[in-house]
């Protein structure tokens, strides 16, 4: 690929377009100095090329030369005021230079030019948040979250938890964190884990525990709203089980996981059952996703998960038998329950 670009440049050394393409190629592989040289030649050949100036700016940004990058990007914007990417990049450069209001302005301009630009929205929201304009920040952040930016989802979750710029709503926080977690956002997982600990840890004050438990309950309740077709339910019913019963196995499994992470006992029980049995093509027997889910909630102190894990390790379901781990899982539980589970394991 790069060879072709070099060949093209060699064939027509005075073609600014080829030079720019080579510069972009070099930038991609991280040869920033060579990319800079090519950009400068391209600009020399075609001083009116906004794209060349933009590339120069972006490359300088990568080289952490903020001021030169800002100058190059401004040149690009002068040549083509509608160059969204240049505004976006300029915003980032301005931020790193500590010029927060200029950064906000650049991001806004980029959004005006291209309203569907979730990343610009997320960046704008961040800078607004850092300038303590929380309401506006929360609005942009939620829009970016809806646009599918996991970081935005995480920060939106944080905003709902802290009531920063929005009305405090831990249930919504759980929802956004769960969404971020689906994209593999680790901090969201930590936040969720922390909230679960708040709900389950005996050391927490009763008020905080109740608040967290209520948040999870409301989150589970809200899950039903996504499936208007699912029949009316009693409080405490599992959406996942209901969907499985309605033969919506795909949605049902997703819902079961959401509910399990949100501390639903029926969902845990159902998943424990499904772990042993498997569910056609949706869930294999001894599915590791279920095991991971149990490990996570058990680590946060969720007793049904601990019991399930004790059984899994005690019986060696999909894992090698590890009685020590099984007993460790049961530590702290009432003696009667512990004995019952151990009996069940041994009785195999």
């Amino acid at each position: 690929m790069l060879g072709e670009l070099r060949g093209a440049v060699r064939v027509s050394p005075d073609d600014a377009g080829d030079r720019l393409k080579l510069a972009q190629g070099l930038y991609r592989i991280g040869d920033l100095d060579a990319a800079l040289d090519e950009c400068r030649i391209a600009i020399k050949l075609e001083p009116e090329s906004a794209a060349a100036h933009l590339q120069l700016g972006v490359t300088l940004m990568a080289k952490q030369d903020g001021r030169a990058a800002a100058a190059a990007l401004m040149d690009a914007i002068l040549l083509d005021p509608a160059l969204t990417q240049a505004h976006y990049s300029l915003g980032s450069v301005q931020y790193s230079l500590g010029n927060l209001s200029a950064a906000i302005q650049s991001y806004r301009r980029a959004l005006e030019l291209q309203p569907h630009f979730p990343d610009a929205r997320y960046r704008l929201a961040l800078v607004l948040k850092l300038t303590n304009r929380h309401q506006e920040a929360a609005r942009f952040m939620e829009e970016a979250a809806v646009g599918g930016i996991p970081q935005a989802q995480f920060f939106t979750g944080n905003a709902y938890r802290n009531g920063q710029g929005v009305e405090k709503n831990p249930a919504l926080a759980i929802r956004w964190w769960t969404m971020a977690l689906e994209f593999g956002h680790q901090r969201a997982a930590e936040s969720l884990s922390q909230l679960r600990r708040q709900a389950l840890s005996p050391e927490q004050p009763e008020r905080r525990r109740k608040e967290a438990l209520e948040a999870f309950r409301r989150y589970r309740e809200a899950l039903w709203n996504h499936y208007p077709d699912a029949a009316g339910h009693d409080p405490g019913d599992s959406l996942g089980i209901a969907l499985l019963n309605n033969s919506e196995s795909s949605n049902g499994v997703t819902a079961l996981f959401h509910e399990a992470f949100a501390l639903s006992e029926p969902a845990h029980e159902e998943l424990a059952r499904l772990y042993e049995s498997g569910l056609d093509s949706r869930l294999a027997q001894f599915d590791t996703r279920i095991l991971t889910c149990f490990e996570t909630t058990a680590a946060d102190g969720f007793i049904p998960a601990k019991k399930a894990l004790a059984r899994i390790y005690g019986k060696g379901l999909g894992v090698t038998v590890d009685m020590r781990k099984a007993k460790a899982m049961l530590k702290g539980l009432p003696k009667r329950e512990t004995t019952a589970i151990l009996d069940e394991i041994v009785g195999r």
Binding site: Q64, Y95, S96, G98, L100, K129, L130, F155, N162, Q164
Partner: protein, 874 residues
């Protein structure tokens, strides 16, 4: 109007005032030196604190303090440069969740994170964490890019002293528009608020600076630390128990920066970063081991007090003892300094007080040398003043005594009247009562005056002791003085006279007028010449003028000179004594015999240093040192009006009273020896020897004419004696000798106690103090009074009514003249008042017989003579 001389006298008299001024001056000098060499002074001033810090028992480290520091493992994980703020955010959140009460974070929000370190997202995370983990104390930065309302801004400044040692931390930063507290202080306050939310937080200091009480050797090693790598792994592993064990209920300080920047030198000799110094501030506040330091005013006051104290001790107690006491005072201050440090943790200044004390020491020595002479003069003046007061009180006493006597007489008369006329008894009783009351009052007044006199005499005695104390001349010096005197023709071994000579020698160097007092023959001219010889004018003329010998008509011409033709016989210009003595010394002998008009002329010369020759139109100006002498009591002259007061004060620049020979009988053998050699040499005779008896009689003789009389006596003896030995008889001392010998032992063997001569002698001995005389004689006081009264009347008759002559006859010693004169005048006026109402001498005499019935009969003849004389004159 301020009297400068009086103020100066008071200043010289008060060692406290001098010490204060000297202390003030020394303090000012010490502060000046401090400004010139601040580093040296700072090092010295704080040396006690530095040493104390190194050798005292170390202060404990607060169990509530935990510090999280970077370690090589964390550097390997997160990089060696600045870290992503997301990491800090996580550390903060974890510490807060683990139960930390207050968190300090060594981080500034002065820049936006670059994209490589998480960019805006990490910044947002940190700000969120700052909000969640509140209270968090961060480091203030002048141009903060990011703003966190939830965190507490603080500063990490250190205020090193001039010797570049970091001992203090400013309580609040002042370089920014918004004052931020010190990191350690802010964290302590946040911790206090969390720990006890009900109590209002007590600011550990106001403004100014905090003196740091370092724990251990002042490095970070003194504190419990947790490495970031261990903390991070605990967070990752969800090891909540471990986190809680580290952080629950504690003040957590996160130090995510390398502790290399800032090289502050500590008093313990270590070099640390400013963060560590602030950690020590925090620990000091947490363990309540605060130190106090004296502010600028405090240092000034302490220095002033120490300097003044040392100055006072040096001025109050002179000599070695004063140096010892001053040293003790300085040592005591040193001890106090150590005690204050150990007991109440107060650091007092050291260098300034010591420097000021050194200045005071030097200053006091110089000052004492400069003012020694003036102080002596002051003491002498004080003595003179007290003497004058004593004289005045003595006069008052005489008056009161006399009044008592006359009242007693009136009472007796009244009693007599009572016995004579019983009809008038009641009225007379009333009068008697009134008189008795008056008598009691007068007696009380007399007692009071007597007490006052005693006190004054005591004061005078102590003053004499004070003046003679610094002049406690050693034997070696006495010998030297004696030799010096000998060279000037003054022959004496008498310590008092030698001291007088020493003072005279000192005074001679000044241009002050000298007044020499003394009986005839005490050597006034000799001393006058000595003044001249010892003064800077010694190479110039010395003119001696006997004022009594100048004829009144020629007074002006003799003293001031005349121009040709100014009067008959003035055939040429003539220069007067004053002109002749120009640039030299003029000795005005017998100044007390000067007529009043001549006194005023002399006064003008003394005042203006210029005069008109007789017949001249232009004044002549001279520069003459005046030495005057007299054997008369000039003070009495002033009070009696025959001597001008202003001239008296002009003359009394330096006053020396030459003692009579009888007060220095130790000199008699010495003088006799010298005179014998001299006289024999002059007469061409072999030098005769004095027999022991003769020598004793010479020593015992009263020598009214003093040395002159002694010389004449010896001249006469040598002229009339042919043998090699002078016996007592050949001296021809006459009856005076017997009288003097008797006088010496009068109190033991009174020849005839009732004799008038004996009573008079006794009175003279006691300075005409009736009570003392009465006590010595074992008589009633009124008896003594009656005898004196009789003697006075007799003397008056003998002197034909001349009061002064009569008084002199009674007084014997000129020192008692004034007292006797007063008594005499009073007796006389009483007598006159008694006889006043009568027409004829006989009537008056018959009343006097009644009035003066206690008067001895032999003296009543005198009364009679006086009465007759009075009526005869009328």
């Amino acid at each position: 109007m301020l009297d400068a001389a009086r103020l100066w006298r008071q200043f010289l008299g008060s060692s406290r005032l001098q010490a204060s001024v000297m202390g003030l001056f020394a303090t000012w000098l010490a502060f000046g030196f401090q400004a010139a060499a601040p580093a040296t002074f700072a090092a010295l001033d704080w040396s006690a604190y530095d040493v104390w810090l190194s050798y005292r028992a170390p202060i404990p480290v607060s169990p509530s303090l935990i510090i999280v520091t970077r370690d090589p493992a964390s550097d390997a994980e997160f990089g060696t440069g600045p870290w992503d703020r997301a990491i800090l955010a996580r550390l903060l959140t974890s510490a807060h969740e683990a139960g930390a009460l207050a968190i300090g974070l060594d981080h500034r929000l002065d820049h936006a994170s670059p994209a490589q370190r998480g960019g805006a997202a990490s910044d947002a995370l940190l700000l969120e964490a700052l909000g969640t983990a509140s209270p968090v104390v961060i480091v203030q930065s002048a141009d903060a890019t990011l703003a966190s309302d939830a965190s507490i801004a603080s500063h990490l400044s250190v205020a090193p002293h001039s010797d570049h040692v970091a001992r203090t931390v400013p309580a609040a930063s002042t370089d920014d528009t918004q004052a931020a507290p010190a990191f350690g202080v802010a964290l302590y306050e946040a911790f206090q608020k969390q720990g006890s939310p009900i109590q209002p937080s007590l600011s550990p200091t106001g403004n100014g600076s905090l003196l740091v009480n370092y724990a251990g050797n002042g490095t970070i090693a003194s504190f419990p630390t947790v490495p970031v790598s261990a903390l991070w792994s605990a967070i990752e592993q969800h090891e909540n128990d471990r986190l809680a064990e580290w952080f629950r209920g504690k003040v957590v300080v996160l130090l995510p920066n390398q502790l290399t920047e800032g090289n502050w030198l500590l008093p313990t000799g270590q070099t640390v970063a400013s963060q560590v110094i602030h950690l020590h501030v925090l620990n000091m506040l947490l363990t309540d081991n605060r130190l106090c330091q004296t502010g600028a005013t405090g240092r000034l006051l302490v220095t002033l007090v120490v300097a003044s104290m040392v100055g006072w001790l040096l001025l109050r107690f002179r000599g070695t003892i004063s140096l010892f006491l001053a040293g003790t005072a300085i040592a005591t201050y040193g001890l106090l300094l150590l005690l204050a440090l150990a007991a109440i943790h107060l650091v007092l200044p050291l260098a300034l007080p010591l420097t000021a004390a050194a200045f005071v020491l030097a200053g006091t020595i110089i000052w004492s040398h400069l003012t020694a002479h003036q102080r002596l003069m002051l003491a002498e003046q004080n003595m003179l003043r007290v003497q004058q007061e004593a004289a005045a009180v003595r006069e008052a006493l005489v008056l009161r005594e006399t009044r008592t006597e006359s009242l007693q007489e009136d009472l007796a008369a009244a009693r007599a009247a009572i016995t004579q006329s019983t009809g008038q008894q009641e009225a007379l009783t009333g009068a008697a009562e009134a008189l008795r009351a008056q008598l009691a009052e007068a007696q009380a007044q007399e007692e009071e005056a007597r007490g006052k006199l005693e006190r004054l005499e005591q004061q005078l005695h102590s003053l004499r002791a004070a003046t003679s104390e610094p002049a406690a001349v050693g034997d070696v010096e006495l010998d030297r003085l004696r030799d010096e005197c000998r060279q000037l023709g003054i022959v004496t071994r008498d310590t008092g006279l030698l001291r007088l000579y020493r003072d005279l020698k000192k005074g001679a160097k000044s241009p002050l007028t000298v007044l020499l007092l003394g009986e005839p023959g005490t050597g006034k001219e000799l001393f006058a010449r000595a003044v001249h010889r010892l003064s800077p004018r010694t190479g110039r003329t010395f003119i001696a003028v006997n004022m009594a010998a100048i004829s009144p008509e020629l007074f002006e011409s003799e003293l001031f000179g005349h121009t040709k033709g100014s009067f008959t016989g003035a055939t040429a210009d003539r220069r007067g004594y004053f002109e002749l003595a120009n640039h030299g010394t003029i000795f005005l002998d017998e100044i007390g015999d000067l007529r009043l008009d001549h006194q005023s002329k002399l006064l003008r010369v003394l005042q203006e240093k210029s005069f008109y020759r007789v017949g001249a139109t232009m004044p002549t100006t001279v520069d003459v040192r005046i030495v005057a002498a007299t054997n008369r009591d000039l003070q009495r002259g002033v009070s009696e009006g025959w001597f001008r007061e202003d001239l008296y004060f002009r003359l009394t620049g330096l006053v020396f009273r030459l003692p009579p020979l009888r007060e220095r009988t130790g000199d008699v053998p010495l003088l006799a020896d010298i005179f014998l050699t001299e006289i024999a040499g002059q007469m061409g005779k072999p030098v005769p020897q004095l027999s022991n008896e003769a020598l004793r009689s010479l020593v015992d003789h009263e020598w009214k004419g003093n040395v002159r009389e002694l010389r004449h006596c010896l001249e006469q003896a040598i002229a009339l004696n042919d043998g090699p030995l002078l016996s007592k008889e050949s001296l021809r001392l006459g009856s005076g000798s017997a009288l003097t010998a008797g006088r010496a032992k009068q109190s033991q063997m009174l020849p005839e106690p009732a004799g008038d001569a004996a009573v008079l002698n006794c009175l003279r001995q006691h300075g005409f103090d009736m009570q003392a005389t009465a006590k010595t004689l074992g008589w009633d006081r009124s008896t003594v009074t009656q005898r004196l009264k009789g003697l006075c009347f007799q003397a008056l008759v003998e002197s034909n009514g001349d009061l002064a002559k009569a008084a002199l006859a009674i007084a014997g010693d000129p020192g008692h003249l004034r007292t006797v004169e007063l008594k005499l005048m009073d007796y006389h006026s009483h007598l006159l008042s008694v006889i006043e109402p009568f027409k004829t001498a006989d009537e008056a005499i018959s009343d006097c017989k009644r009035r003066f019935k206690n008067l001895p009969d032999r003296h009543f003849a005198s009364v009679e003579a006086l009465v007759r004389q009075h009526f005869h004159q009328v």
